[in-house]
């Protein structure tokens, strides 16, 4: 009891350490946001910024990315590729998870192992293999090639999330619906799908995030016409590092926060 009311030095040290770890996790990301409003082309806080001098802060990097066709074009590419890959991964992944929920499926464990393998395979190996294989099929430097590749990389996330949601699904509900005269399709549409929908949507958001953040496959397989946002950032970091990158990064942080909050909200709904 005393420990709870008056924390001892050990507990204080523990809390201090945990605080530092949380700072380590979040602070580097948050530092980017104010720096993206830097009026000077520097990557650190100028004296003017620290004095909160309004002239030291500006939107020039935001103007630059909005007016730059390389960035706006890469946003379009990222969206087209991301949405297409997500649709493929989500539809196929959900169907497979539904099938795998049946314990009678032969070689269930091996199939699961294959479907999840894109998640752990070093991406450089996958990208190198895809470069050879897709070029051979005439899909090198095409949107379609990258969409298929990204769909494969997103599949494990859909399978994992939907499988987790299905584990909480009560199969008696399917039987109850059938006993009330519903066919398999009606049962799926009216009973099962609404209950697993949060898991499916979470899986889709994961798959989208994977594609939206993927750069190695694009580096190997994409041409000038397939430049995505991460690809554009990659060149930005490697070649002419400019604070415009920080403005893009700030957008991406806001986007990530939006995705995260949506998934958390869905997770809680799924559990409720």
């Amino acid at each position: 009891m005393t420990a709870a009311t008056r924390p001892g030095p050990g507990r204080l040290a523990y809390l201090a350490f945990c605080t530092l770890v949380f700072v380590f996790l979040v602070a580097p990301i948050l530092v980017i946001v104010p720096l993206s409003f830097n009026a000077e082309p520097y990557f650190t806080f100028t004296e003017g910024m620290l004095r909160l001098d309004p002239d030291a802060w500006s939107l020039r990097w935001y103007r630059e990315i909005i007016e730059n066709e390389a960035w706006t074009g890469s946003l379009v590419n990222s969206m087209v590729i991301g949405v297409s890959a997500t649709v493929i991964a989500t539809v196929l992944g959900t169907l497979a998870a539904l099938g795998l929920a049946n314990p009678a499926v032969p070689a269930r464990r091996a199939i699961m192992g294959i479907l999840i393998s894109p998640m752990v395979t070093p991406v450089i190996i996958a990208a190198a293999g895809m470069f050879f294989f897709y070029s051979g099929l005439g899909l090198g430097q095409t949107h379609l090639g990258i969409i298929l590749a990204h769909a494969a990389l997103g599949v494990p996330f859909v399978v994992v999330t939907v499988t987790a949601t299905l584990a909480a699904y009560d199969p008696n509900l399917t039987r109850a619906a059938a006993s009330l005269g519903a066919g398999p399709w009606t049962t799926f549409r009216r009973v099962q799908f609404p209950l697993i929908a949060p898991g499916v949507i979470s899986g889709a958001l994961f798959a989208f995030a994977v594609s939206f953040d993927e750069v190695v496959v694009v580096l190997f397989m994409g041409g000038v016409d397939q430049r995505t946002i991460p690809r554009q950032m990659w060149s930005g970091i490697r070649e002419q590092i400019s604070p415009a990158i920080l403005a893009v990064a700030t957008f991406l942080i806001a986007f990530a926060a939006l995705l995260l909050l949506t998934v958390e909200w869905l997770r809680r709904r799924g559990r409720a």
Binding site: C18, V21, F24, L25, V26, P28, I29, V31, I32, F43, T44, I88, L92, L95, A96, G99, A101, N102, A104, P106, M112, G113, L115, S117, P118, V120, T121, P122, V123, I124, I125, A128, G129, F131, F132, F133, G136, L148, A151, A152, V155, V159, V160, T161, V215, V216, F220, P230, W234, I237, I241, I245, L246, A249, L252, I253, A256, L260, V263, E264
Partner: protein, 401 residues
């Protein structure tokens, strides 16, 4: 008896029917590319296709002295044809990798042979370049002429096949890959330990916190998890570079002098710090989900039985959290050994890992056979750990705790 069996069979078939489309999709879009790459690590037909007769005649050569005139004649004819078909550059590149300096010998000879109408070819070729009188040149051609070859894998582990067929170490200055594999393993081990050290306390804190606060803290862990990898890498460059935020703070505090700014990025430090940051959520989430299942009453019971907090932790809490430690550590380690992006951007020259070497051979040196063999070794290691993970944790619980 018959009816339920038929019924079960139908359900099984329907389930398989649902899985089949994805299985085929992954087979074509993912497994087939991996297989293509692994094939390249053992199959290299370029030289065999370009110089078939030369290689067939070389079979009979005993390996000492120069080969017979017939070999020279065939080589002259086939090199000329390779030059006309523009494949001689690829042939020269491969021969050059076995025996340095032969690239220009092969391309130069192929070019000059066009002006010489007739033999004897041994004199003609040796006149173009002395190297044709050296048995080592012919050994190199014979080695690269193997359609199926182990030399890329030997090369990937710093070995080579000597002309007499025995296997030996590469010369000292070419022994780089084993050291790089070892460095990759060590760096991954260090990163895994750092993640455990940083992740264990906060996973414990979140697991013991009241639900609404636990949710808030979990979001803090998940923010980096969802934030673009390139954004996180950029963030570390901004923080750690010599004119960056952290150095500015240290200088302002007087801890380092302005010209003594620390080099914390574009080296191994940068790789380790940024990768620990990137992989920490993968440690915290599995730890958290195991720790949530450890009843807090156990620690109270241990305390009431007279255990000190340290004893209670070591004998009661730690053993129960071990499944989470195993799952998290294994996952972080698997992801770390294949990491490419972060070391490529913040690793500088000494912070590169094996994946970066594979990329180098894919994009710069264009030694695709070696890139594939290095990838094959790395992939074998990853799959072994993946199988272990499946046994210990189950792959369907991967990544999300």
């Amino acid at each position: 008896m018959k009816v339920p069996v038929a019924h079960e069979r139908r359900a099984q078939l329907r389930a398989l029917g649902l899985v089949a489309p994805l299985l085929i999709f992954i087979g074509v879009t993912f497994i087939a590319p991996l297989a293509t790459m692994l094939t390249r690590s053992v199959h290299d037909p370029v030289v065999a296709d370009a110089l078939p007769e030369t290689l067939a005649l070389l079979e009979a050569w005993d390996g000492t002295g120069t080969p017979p005139e017939a070999v020279y004649a065939a080589a002259a004819r086939e090199l000329e044809r390779a030059a006309a078909e523009r494949t001689v550059g690829q042939v020269a590149g491969r021969v050059n990798r076995v025996q340095g300096g032969l690239r220009s010998v092969v391309t130069g000879t192929a070019r000059d042979l066009g002006d010489i109408g007739q033999g004897p070819w041994r004199e003609a070729m040796t006149a173009i370049d002395e190297a044709w009188a050296d048995p080592a040149t012919w050994h190199a051609i014979r080695t690269t002429g193997e359609r199926f070859t182990a030399r890329h894998y030997l090369n990937a582990v710093d070995l080579q096949r000597l002309p007499d067929g025995s296997v030996a170490s590469q010369p000292e200055e070419r022994r780089i890959y084993l050291r790089l594999f070892l460095r990759t393993l060590m760096v991954s081990g260090v990163i895994t330990l750092l993640c455990l050290l940083l992740g264990y306390p906060i996973a414990h804190l979140i697991a013991r916190a009241p639900p609404h606060r636990a949710n808030l803290l979990l979001v803090l862990v998940l923010v980096p998890f969802w934030t673009s990898l390139l954004v996180r890498t950029t963030a570390w460059i901004v923080l750690l570079q010599t004119q960056g935020v952290l150095n500015d703070i240290l200088v302002a505090m007087g801890l380092v002098s302005d010209d003594g700014r620390l080099a914390m990025v574009y080296n191994m430090t940068g790789t380790i710090v940024a990768m620990t940051h990137v992989l920490l959520p993968f440690m915290v989430l599995p730890l958290y989900s195991v720790m949530r299942g450890i009843p807090s009453t156990h620690m109270n019971a241990a305390a009431s039985l007279g255990a000190t907090p340290l004893q209670a932790f070591l004998r009661v809490y730690w053993p129960q959290s071990l499944p989470g430690v195993g799952a998290g550590a294994l996952l972080v380690f698997i992801l770390a050994i294949g990491y490419y992006i972060t070391p490529a951007l913040v690793g500088g020259s000494d912070g590169q890992l094996i994946s970066n070497m594979i990329a180098y051979h894919m994009q710069t040196s264009l030694n695709w056979g070696l890139a594939a063999a290095l990838g094959g070794v790395l992939l074998a290691g990853v799959l072994l750990l993946y199988a272990l993970y499946d046994r210990l944790v189950g792959v369907e619980r991967m990544g999300l705790g």
